[in-house]
């Protein structure tokens, strides 16, 4: 019984420590997204504008290459089903991206804005409402944490 009580106390202490540790490791970045156009005709570009903001009190240097690879995009239809990946997404070789390579220097509370053509990643050719959420992985030197965006909606119209 003593051993059980001790184990319980130890386990509880570990739990609260872990919670406290997790809370103290809040990401220094915020990611917000917004649809460039809330309604897009079928077959047109459905673009999501992203904004990564440096929430810390010191300047940070970040690198941005290809938005198709820099961000993870989750698109769901009105039934909650994941929109299928496009052929372009399936063929992406993100380890060998050779184009745009920006080193962005963000002062405290400054932002880097980017744009993701969601329709090039996910098949949203069906008319209807889609919800989009984006995640971005902070660089290793900032803990490598995944920063989640808000959810935004895009309506594909005929």
């Amino acid at each position: 019984m003593k051993i059980f009580t001790l184990a319980l106390l130890f386990g509880s202490a570990l739990f609260f420590l872990s919670v406290g540790f997790a809370q103290s490791r809040q990401t220094p970045f915020a990611l917000t997204i917004a649809a460039a156009q809330a309604e897009v005709p079928r077959g047109s570009e459905a673009k999501i504008n992203t904004t990564i903001t440096n929430l810390s009190n010191s300047a940070v240097a970040l690198e941005f290459k290809n938005p198709l690879c820099d961000y993870s995009v989750e698109v769901r239809d009105s039934m909650g089903n994941l929109a299928p990946d496009t052929d372009l997404k399936k063929s992406l070789d993100c380890a060998n991206v050779s184009g745009r390579h920006i080193n962005a220097y963000l002062q405290p509370h400054e932002s880097f804005k980017d744009a993701i053509p969601v329709n090039s990643l996910n098949d949203i050719s069906e008319v209807g409402e889609y919800s989009v959420r984006v995640t971005w992985k902070a660089p290793r030197e900032f803990g490598g944490m995944v920063v989640k965006s808000n959810t935004t909606k895009i309506t594909v119209v005929p």
Binding site: A36, Q37, G43, S44, E45, K47, A59, A61, E63, F64, K65, N66, P67, L68, C69, L88, S91, L92, D93, C94, A95, N96, V97, S98, G99, R100, H101, I102, N103, A104, Y105, F112, K113, D114, A115, I116, P117, N119, S120
Partner: protein, 490 residues
């Protein structure tokens, strides 16, 4: 007999009653005839085209433009049996107008009542000219009497002046004013005659068109599908509204609007002046290598070609000690934001396999066809803000190859978008980016495998250069998207 049954008094009055009834049938409501004579009649002139009042109108309420003599009315007395003209008559102004002048004369034409078809008569005509420049009045009235040997017609004429039209922009009349605007700001103009009577009498209207060298109808740019094009200026210059369009160069511009009444008279031209602000003294510095993170302060040499971790062949390594190229824009500008758009004008990687097989020519993946340039680089826009960088690097180098080289060139466009007005409800169409100019730059790089076992590579040559910023209001356009999601080799 019916007559015999009538009272004597009625019999005496009967011709007079018949005369009155007959006269009332022919006389217009607002006109009084002095007397009618058997075989004679008066008639108004038939419609004169173009212009002129429509005869038969019993209420003389013409709408007319200022400083133009406008026909009001014309009568003639003629013999109904022979169609011989008895008299053109003459006019006397009984109540003079306050804001204009009258004039009389003769005019030839046919009868408006259909009598004597094909016979031309000389009518006495009266005209009115609005002469007042008082902007607070737009109505006038006068009375005149036409007299012939046997008849008299009295006209009361209510004039509505159709002066300079209004030009509405963002809910305000900007006609004859100078209004501030910004390049890239949506311009939608609506013209209208100054009062309801003139609006209903408007037959057509005419807008001036902005010059296509400093205005566009819009700009659409997408990566997927790849398409960027300028929307031409609206060509409909004859509707109530003109637009939307956007000026793309700061200057003072004028737009004019004019309408034409159903009588053919054209209104004065209203002019709206727009003082269009935008970025001035635009500069773009390029620098590389060790650069200030906050941006170039002058144009200097670019970064160096290096082997980056991977290993990969990079133009710069995306650090502030060896940035490939950094662009920093500055200008004197109203509230707004810079953005960059880059077009790839050439990008080819040549790989020489270690096993001696054929040299591979590789192009970055591109929609629709790899290797067809120019194409949009990666995303639209490339980035936002006054400063951006590029450090293009290859994919991972492996010992499959013994030599790799890359030839890269691009054109970086600087654009500027004004801050949309808080009350603009047009969403994305409230503003568009306007081009300010571009920088052409390039680099060549080559490396060789020096240790196959360790996959160690060494740069054998490489250099980058940038031309000076060239100011221009030409938009970047494309139908290809270099999406850089991999390579296509053959």
């Amino acid at each position: 007999m019916l007559v015999s049954r009538c009272p004597l008094r009625f019999r005496r009055l009967a011709p007079i009653i018949v005369y009155i009834l007959a006269a009332s049938m022919f006389a217009p409501n607002v006109h009084a005839q002095k007397r009618a004579v058997g075989g004679t009649k008066v008639g108004r002139i038939a419609p004169m085209s173009p212009g002129g009042l429509v005869p038969g109108s019993e209420t003389l309420s013409p709408t007319l433009v200022p400083e133009v003599q406008t026909f009001i009315d014309a009568w003639v007395e003629y013999n109904t049996s022979t169609c011989v003209e008895i008299s053109a008559g003459s006019w006397t102004v009984t109540t003079a107008p306050k804001y204009g002048t009258t004039a009389t004369g003769t005019v030839t034409g046919t009868l408006g009542n259909g009598d004597c078809a094909g016979v031309t008569f000389t009518f006495a005509a009266i005209y009115y000219t609005w002469t007042s420049t008082n902007p607070k009045v737009d109505t006038d009235t006068f009375a005149a009497t036409w007299t012939s040997p046997d008849y008299q017609e009295m006209d009361t004429v209510d004039i509505t002046e159709c002066g300079g039209p209004t030009i509405m922009f963002n809910g305000a009349n900007v006609a004859e004013k100078t209004t501030s605007a910004a390049v890239g700001q949506e311009i939608m103009l609506t013209g209208q005659a100054p009062n309801a009577a003139c609006v209903s009498a408007t037959a057509s209207q005419q807008w001036s068109m902005p010059s296509s060298t400093n205005a566009v109808g819009g700009y659409t740019a997408t990566a997927s599908p790849p398409n960027a094009a300028v929307t031409p200026l609206p060509t409909d210059t004859t509707s109530t509204s003109y637009g939307p369009f956007y000026w793309i160069s700061p200057a003072t511009y004028t737009m004019t609007y004019q309408y034409t009444l159903t009588n053919g008279e054209t209104s004065p031209v209203s002019t709206a002046k727009f003082k269009v602000g935008g970025p001035k003294e635009v500069k773009v510095y390029t620098c590389g290598g060790s650069v200030p993170p906050t941006g170039c302060t002058n144009t200097t040499a670019l970064g160096t070609v290096v082997i980056t971790p991977g290993p990969a062949l990079g133009f710069g390594d995306a650090t502030y000690s060896n940035t490939g190229i950094q662009f920093t824009a500055s200008a004197t500008a109203p509230p707004g934001d810079f953005s960059y758009v880059q077009e790839i004008t050439n990008d080819v990687i040549t790989e020489t396999p270690s096993d001696g097989s054929a040299v591979q020519t590789c192009y970055p993946l591109e929609v629709p066809t790899p290797g067809v340039f120019p194409g949009l680089d990666t995303s639209y826009p490339y980035s936002t803000g006054a400063t951006t960088t590029d450090n293009p690097g290859t994919g991972t180098l492996t010992n499959v190859d013994k030599k790799v080289s890359r030839a890269f060139s691009a054109q970086m466009y600087l654009l500027w978008t004004p801050t949309a007005a808080a009350d603009c409800t047009g969403g994305a169409s409230c503003t568009i980016p306007v081009p300010l100019g571009s920088v052409s730059w390039r680099f060549n790089a080559a490396a060789k495998l020096t240790n196959s076992a360790l996959d160690t590579w060494t740069v054998t040559s490489g250099k980058g250069s940038a031309k000076a910023f060239v100011a221009s209001n030409s938009y970047p356009t494309w139908t290809s998207w270099v999406e850089y999601g991999g390579m296509s080799c053959h």
